[in-house]
Symmetry: C2
Subunit: 312 residues, 2 copies
């Protein structure tokens, strides 16, 4: 249980980054789209098949150097159930290659319904006695606005199986402060309070490497809050979006890490998926090789601000 | 735009209720499951086909007296992409029968990603020039923890097309107060503040019947907060879960309505889906007829505490 399995991969690869697979159709090289549209038609099926081929190409090029992927559910739901099928196949393919998968779904609901989301994304579904995994991811992002009821069903799964969650604490977007930065009557902000709830929930599901099964999403775009939260939440592992395209730099991102270079994983999506367009004269058939080059650049950028990543 | 289309249906049917279709496999009559498992196997396909047949049966019995259904995404995702296909087919079937559909997904994310969710659930997806609707619902529940960025893409769709959203304000679960009831430094609670944000967002997308495109989720289990919010948020239409199975009574629910018996729609899920088990000696083949009887009972219970529902 907890993030131990992810942390071990990070240490082994000396790479605390995750590649976000948020594949809008417009990001995908024309040759892939042409092939799939020709075969299946210019419809959701064709689009979903193109996205799957694109994802597999990237996974093939990065699985030996990047510990995890983070598919964003919205970009699959956008292509209907065919898109959602591609989400399931992407998760399975990455896991076959040994990668850790974080489904970015920001799910939230009351207890009974959260039990259904937990089964869907991290656990198994009971089909009148036959158990099957629907999406079978390793970790899920969730929103804690509903309080403990909405988190408890996930904790049970984290304890029973080797799973984990990331709760939204301080998000990377510009307007995140509208609610999250507001001070409560005890002078703590909403995001600090949510962070404290993560520590509390995580207390019931601690791992062996110092971090619990309950992580927090903290945006790279707010480096001061990253530093403050790292200090306040010693057992909470961070997922840090917003590096690169959203403007968060590696120097600020270093604030998310502990003295062993652990405690966080930094996400990049667009910069990796679209690396082939940013490089000069990169043929689109080399999109995955360009993604690999960007992943290496990103890793080197980030670790250059960190102590050596180690378990001691 | 806005909830005008829903409000008109409510007035015409004199029925401010919505049936939640959250069909766990265990709720479904054995004869339906046996038929579909025999045909497709005891797998996600068989389960998804059973759920679709169950949903269609209920819709056929209620579409002439109930204005809307609210499928809960979690209970479809639980059955994998096959389940998600059943969600899409359920939405389309209900709309063919003239019903208004609220997808209960509680989606939330930063702006760019929320644009993808908006396209997925309420809008259309661009397939390199070909536009197709993925789920094409009429309204979507969302979580406003990320602030304006995460709501703006939806507002645009509400303005352009005839769509609407419900933002979580005060949820029906027991632990909803852990964050939502906390007072901010201006002495207003988090849920009051979220409610005020709904009014502000809705100001940019008002309908003709007094309510904006931005509704709020307020639980039936908190009648005092319902009354207080109804007064504070005159242009915000309420979705009220928690009636029945979760313990909210019709007298308390009346607090959600305005002086014309409008301004809210009350959800019931389990009590309708499982009416056939609660009735004495109801054969399971009559599950949909039992659902109809429960829907009528619920409507009569709720309207008995309301003024006559009218547009004036």
């Amino acid at each position: 249980m907890s993030f131990d399995r992810l942390i071990e991969k990070i240490v082994k690869m000396q790479n605390p980054t995750v590649v976000g697979l948020d594949p809008k159709l417009e990001y995908i090289p024309e040759y892939i789209k042409a092939k799939k549209f020709d075969k299946y038609g210019k419809n959701f099926k064709g689009a979903a098949k193109a996205i799957l081929a694109f994802n597999k190409g990237i996974i093939d090029e990065i699985y030996d150097i990047v510990p995890a992927i983070k598919p964003q559910a919205a970009y699959y739901e956008m292509y209907g159930w065919e898109g959602v099928k591609t989400l399931a196949k992407t998760i399975a393919y990455a896991q076959e290659k040994g990668m850790y998968v974080i489904t970015d779904g920001k799910r939230n609901d009351i207890g009974a319904t959260m039990t259904a989301y937990a089964a869907a994304h991290l656990g198994v579904t009971d089909l009148d006695g036959v158990e099957q995994a629907a999406f079978g991811s390793d970790a899920l992002t969730v929103n804690g606005y509903l309080g403990t009821d909405g988190i408890a069903p996930l904790l049970e799964l984290c304890r029973q199986k080797d799973k984990a969650i990331f709760v939204l604490v301080k998000t990377s977007n510009q307007s995140s402060g509208e609610l999250q930065d507001r001070k409560l009557d005890d002078c703590k902000s909403v995001y600090e309070t949510m962070g404290e709830m993560c520590e509390k929930w995580g207390g019931e599901a601690m791992g062996k490497l110092g971090y619990s099964s309950v992580g927090a999403v903290v945006g790279a775009t707010y480096p001061e809050q990253l530093a403050e939260l790292r200090k306040a939440l010693p057992n909470t592992f961070f997922l840090v979006p917003g590096y690169g395209a959203q403007g968060g730099g590696a120097r600020g991102v270093a604030n998310a890490f502990d003295e062993n270079g652990l405690g966080a994983i930094v996400n990049s999506s667009r910069a990796v998926m679209l690396a082939y367009r940013k490089e000069q004269d990169c043929p689109e058939k080399d999109y995955a090789k360009a993604a690999r080059r960007e992943v290496i650049r990103m890793k080197e950028d980030i670790v250059s601000y960190l102590p050596k990543i180690s378990l001691e």
